[in-house]
């Protein structure tokens, strides 16, 4: 179905131009696939079907092959991701110190389950096995920031700092920085 706005051509270019400039940095073969996917995901936030088709075409690979690689590595995402990615540690130390309650509190606060993304694309919630900050258990990461010694009650405050308009993370709300 073609768009009827009359600007299809421009929107198409606007959407794909960044991808083409990424591709122009790489050789047209299989060995470029993973770095191209990483750069494309950095730009688009995830890997949409149309982007993967272009990548497959440029590298001379089938879409099936590209899909196989994308689904193998957990770093690649086929669904849109939140602007902020929350990683809740479920390792042993965090578990013992109430990590599960923290996770539940975040799920309640955002209305999504682990693995989900909020409808406003503000947050994606994931669990991880250990982030190596056991002394601060229970601990979560939001993007590259670590927040330790959390309690279910303090979760909302941490998250609020990341919502749009809360771009600048106040270190005050961050119990610990790494």
């Amino acid at each position: 179905m073609n768009c009827i706005c009359g600007h299809a051509q421009e929107s198409y270019a606007k959407y794909f131009d960044p991808l083409y400039s990424i591709l122009s940095n790489y050789s047209k073969d299989e060995s470029s696939l993973i770095p191209v996917l990483q750069d494309a995901q950095d730009h688009y936030g995830y890997l949409p079907l149309d982007v993967l088709k272009e990548i497959a075409g440029y590298l001379g690979l089938s879409l099936g092959k590209v899909y196989g690689v994308v689904t193998f590595y957990s770093q690649f995402h086929l669904q849109p991701r939140g602007r902020n990615v929350i990683r809740v540690c479920t390792g042993t130390a965090c578990h013992v110190r109430g990590g599960a309650e923290v996770l539940k509190a975040i799920e309640n606060e955002l209305g999504i389950k682990s693995g989900g993304t909020t409808d406003d694309l503000e947050f994606t919630l994931e669990t991880v096995a250990c982030i190596g900050a056991c002394g601060l258990a229970p601990v979560i990461m939001v993007n590259d920031d670590t927040h330790g010694r959390l309690a279910p009650e303090t979760v909302a405050m941490v998250l609020n700092a990341y919502r749009t308009k809360g771009e600048e993370v106040s270190r005050a709300t961050s119990h610990v920085s790494h």
Partner: protein, 573 residues
């Protein structure tokens, strides 16, 4: 290559350096069970069913991927090797549905056979029973069905699709317990670059990839008293279906095949060879036209629907080179619902056309929007060789002892040229027999180009030499197409068959189909051709009459309307 000495099961043998332990064992007449191994594909070593013991190190080795070394001592029958093989099969059964009775591959399943051969009992089957995959069966589209729950991840389908066909429609996705073989985004085959050739279904050792069965639809038509059911069988079926009933590959069972179809209740039984003759006339004259009017060459055949879809997906810029002549299947059905219906006084609306094909792509072809020139869907149902065998078995017919029957009239005559359509190179030979006779008034010597990959010949017709190429297997075809794209092709005529060795190696043929099996099927077809009185398509009296009474002349206006088609560029990868 130098020779080295190894010992397998106390038997000292001299083998070529560089071969694998499995190959060495087989040379010595020692059989080792395998599963992910396939002689036509690269080595994977993923299933670990072919384990043997290295006596010197006591290490267990996967024999299919282990190269021989000088002085190596191997036991294929030590307790450790036997235990490892059995254990690995039991592990494969851990998440397999193990519902053999409800599986279409029961009886031809390699996993089932391995379990039986190894004496794996109920306890062994349940030994590691754990979580099972619970994924939806993928059966959208027309040709192929995938049941990810039955897949054992041997990767044969992935390898055949990439290495033999160069399509790469299938690949592993996900990982660990969630790993499956699938298409990009789980899209149906009809919406991706898949050629629907069905080679994946032929190499699949289990029931994970099978044709989408149309048996029920065909029975329903046969049961319907208001339907006039006409069946056509492709040239190669008569030399392959016997295998389903224990006969040697290549055994000619034409008469029994016809008898069986009549017993199944088909109102009229014909051979697609009739319309293969028709295809030769249309396509032969098309080629004559191109060369006499100096139109752009090469002329590329289009009777193989897997090849056509491959071209539409991957070489949309070259579609103008393809013959516009319909495939024999489609010509036949169109003629049945027009000329034939009129001749026998049957309302074409009540005719149900079935074709028995060595092919899964034919199921896709019949559903193409282009194929409604008779005013109806031209072909109503397509059965593979395997599906027809299942119907015959369902009735319990003693196939081997059926009394031979003959094709119905008035389209029952077929030429030897049409018979060899079923093998790679056959279409070319058939067409050039007619082209040469029309242009030069002389016969063509046998081309006999063999079965492997890409072959070429120079054919002299009326003082000019034509470069002819015959290719089977889509990755081989792709090389010739790349040449055309680059403006470097020297060929005037190219025949492409998607499946290795042509329709005798088709995706709908009996399983398994090794190269030896296919070569014997090809020999069967060549023998039929040799024995035929009429060996040139333009001498088929029924075809001559069809032109006189109905079509007029090859490439005439009725032919143009009913027997030619068009192609569509498909924007998929």
């Amino acid at each position: 290559m130098s020779k080295i000495t190894i010992t397998i099961d106390n038997q000292q043998i001299q083998v070529e350096n560089g071969i694998t332990v499995l190959e060495a064992a087989r040379e010595a007449g020692i059989e080792i069970p395998t599963l992910c191994y396939h002689p036509d594909l690269s080595l994977a070593g993923s299933c670990r069913v072919c384990m043997v013991e290295d006596i010197n190190s006591h290490r267990l080795l996967a024999s299919c991927v282990t190269p021989v070394t000088d002085g190596m001592q191997i036991s294929t029958r030590s307790a450790a090797a036997r235990r490892a093989r059995k254990l690995n099969v039991e592990l494969l059964l851990a998440n397999h549905p193990n519902d053999c009775l409800g599986c279409g591959r029961s009886g031809s399943c390699e996993l089932q056979k391995l379990a039986a051969d190894m004496g794996i009992d109920r306890k062994g089957v349940d030994r590691f029973a754990g979580q099972k995959r619970k994924r939806a069966v993928v059966d959208q589209g027309y040709s192929l069905k995938r049941d990810p729950n039955k897949c054992i991840l041997c990767g044969r389908c992935v390898r055949v699709c990439e290495e033999v066909q160069g399509v790469m429609a299938l690949d592993f996705a996900g990982r660990g317990f969630d790993a499956i073989v699938t298409t990009a985004f789980d899209l149906p085959y009809s919406e991706i670059n898949c050629a629907e050739c069905g080679q994946c279904s032929v190499v699949c050792p289990v029931g994970a990839i099978t044709e989408i069965s149309e048996i029920d639809r065909v029975w329903a038509a046969l049961d319907d008293p208001d339907k006039f059911v006409v069946v056509q069988t492709a040239p190669s079926i008569q030399v392959s279906i016997g295998e389903e009933f224990g006969l040697e590959p290549g055994t000619i069972v034409t008469g029994k095949l016809i008898a069986a179809l009549k017993r199944l209740g088909f109102d009229k039984v014909f051979s697609t060879e009739f319309s293969a003759d028709l295809t030769i006339l249309e396509e032969g004259y098309e080629f004559i036209n191109k060369i006499t009017n100096s139109q752009k060459l090469p002329h590329i055949t289009s009777c193989c629907p897997g090849w056509v879809k491959f071209a539409e997906c991957n070489y949309p810029d070259l579609l103008d080179y393809l013959s516009t002549a319909k495939s024999p299947q489609q010509m036949f059905s169109t003629i049945v619902k027009t000329y034939y219906a009129r001749q026998i006084g049957v309302d074409p609306a009540s005719i149900f056309t079935v074709s028995v094909m060595p092919c899964t792509a034919k199921k896709f072809e019949k559903a193409r929007a282009e194929h409604r020139d008779s005013g109806f869907q031209d072909t109503d149902a397509v059965l593979t060789t395997r599906e027809l065998a299942r119907m015959i078995k369902e009735l319990g017919l003693d196939f081997i002892n059926l009394e031979d029957a003959e094709y119905d009239q008035i389209m029952g005559e077929v030429s030897g040229a049409a018979t060899i359509f079923g093998t790679t190179g056959g279409v070319t030979e058939a067409a050039l027999r007619t082209v040469k006779e029309v242009l030069a008034g002389e016969g063509l010597d046998r081309l006999d180009l063999g079965l492997m990959g890409t072959r070429e010949a120079q054919v002299e017709i009326a003082g000019r030499t034509y470069n002819v190429a015959v290719v089977s297997g889509l990755s081989n075809a792709a090389k010739l197409l790349d040449e055309i794209r680059a403006g470097e092709s020297k060929y005037d005529w190219i025949e492409v068959m998607a499946c290795p060795h042509g329709c005798i190696g088709g995706g709908g043929q009996p399983i398994p189909g090794s190269f030896d099996t296919k070569a014997r099927r090809a020999k069967g077809l060549a023998n039929i051709d040799q024995a035929k009185q009429i060996r040139k398509s333009h001498q088929n009296p029924d075809v001559i009459r069809l032109y006189e009474e109905f079509l007029g002349e090859p490439l005439g206006s009725i032919s143009h309307e009913l027997l030619h088609t068009s192609y569509q560029a498909r924007d998929v990868r």
